[in-house]
Symmetry: C3
Subunit: 192 residues, 3 copies
């Protein structure tokens, strides 16, 4: 088994996850980034199932599940000292919330640490409203609160299933550096 | 593997699940109903463990667990295009809340979609009070709220374990048709 | 498989779990106590990994995980009629909340019943403040509330994964006898 850390970092749309993840990758020594969706797309191209990224969502559920597993295996076999895995905990679809980290993916990915980025519901709603090209679904503050709870529930179940510890990191408005610093401290503890 | 959908529909006592399920079965083309408790009873009769339904609760926990598994396998091997599985997420007993969809049952049942029917705590308490022959346990609004949260937690864990997407459907008083329509839309998306 | 009951009793720091557990062990006929941490320490001594208890926390995560599994197997193979397993649901560390009952441990431990001891956030904060030698981390009422929710979420996932029923027992200030009595009733129902 590779000796490195695999930190799975998740958070619902609008918590500012991407910013925090980028800051982690550039501030943590030896850290590399693995974007789960990109790893899935790469696997799909290798299998010649797709040529372009927008073809991904047209694949059958069975094919998407297989790509999830292949991507997870590839990431877990990587040799990075600290791999930051940027992925979705769930995806809102007309069929319901699809789990992004189901049991079979967790078994392949073998995360060493689970990190949930959180923010205030008001901040999340306002970020989604201000970036309508990125966030297509309009949601109320109540729906965002429910998503935040759902995220905690999902990641806690993921922690129990994987045995990996779980951290809740609050990303306050304009304080992404502090959130990234907390993750850096976590990595320092884990490699001490 | 059979190609059909298996929608597991659950909800705590008093949310009006039965009504919604019946409306789904009659309005969704090709839908059939599988009542989990009945499938367990049928399995028990075949094994000659019981003759009458009220003997079921006298069976040992081990036997009940085996019946759960057999029922799940039978339902998952069925050939229906859309099977609506009506079951309990948990059952309140003197030994605690028994999970109706534990890991081994989920593995056998292989649900394709998980649906949680929800309602306002006040409505649930009032339905339970108005039908004392059906709902024997009297509970407070606080206990009902706790059960609703527990249901979300249990079904989220079930989603993570099974990889099936999860939907939360609100069944407003007198609007069971709308709840059923949402499930019909979900099936349409899944079969599109 | 041994025929006895294995009640896993957990609760966050400050709920008064130890008192309740002791009362259960002395009031329930045929009950024996298995302290999970002690079972891990015994296993570590047998393997000659440590001599003293304070060396435990210096072991690598891999070794600690192996000890968890060995301890779980040993407890599940015990012959007690009613084994009360006293353990941690999670442990607050600089790497996050470590799950004390991850999937692999649950599979080895094979709990028959899961019990969560709960208390009011105010009571918990006050107990932690009054016993600073035992509880090193100072936490706010909000953090305690979040821990209580996390405990419910974790144990619910454990229930789903293990198939064991889950009970929530409220330990009111000065009423540990009543909490223990509820557990005694649960055992009576299970052995009836």
């Amino acid at each position: 088994m590779p000796m490195g850390l695999r930190l799975v970092v998740v958070g619902i749309a609008g918590v500012g996850k991407s910013t925090v993840v980028q800051k982690c990758v550039s501030s943590i020594e030896g850290a590399t980034l693995a974007v789960f969706g990109t790893a899935m797309f790469d696997a799909a191209k290798e299998l010649r199932w797709v040529k372009h990224r927008d073809e991904m969502r047209k694949l059958t559920v069975e094919k998407q599940k297989r790509l999830q597993k292949v991507a997870a295996q590839k990431i877990s076999r990587g040799r990075g000292r600290v791999v930051i895995v940027d992925t979705h905990l769930f995806i809102r679809t007309p069929e319901g919330f699809w789990p992004g980290l189901p049991f079979v993916v967790i078994q392949s990915l073998k995360p060493t640490h689970l990190v949930l980025i959180e923010a205030e519901p008001e901040e999340i709603v306002s970020r989604r409203e201000n970036d309508k090209t990125r966030y297509r679904d309009m949601v109320t503050k109540e729906e965002v609160s429910a998503e935040l709870t759902l995220a905690r529930t999902f990641l806690s179940a993921a922690s129990l299933v994987s045995g990996a510890p779980i951290s809740f990191i609050r990303n306050y408005e304009g304080k992404a550096d502090e959130a990234a610093e907390q993750i850096r401290q976590l990595v320092r503890s884990a490699t001490a």
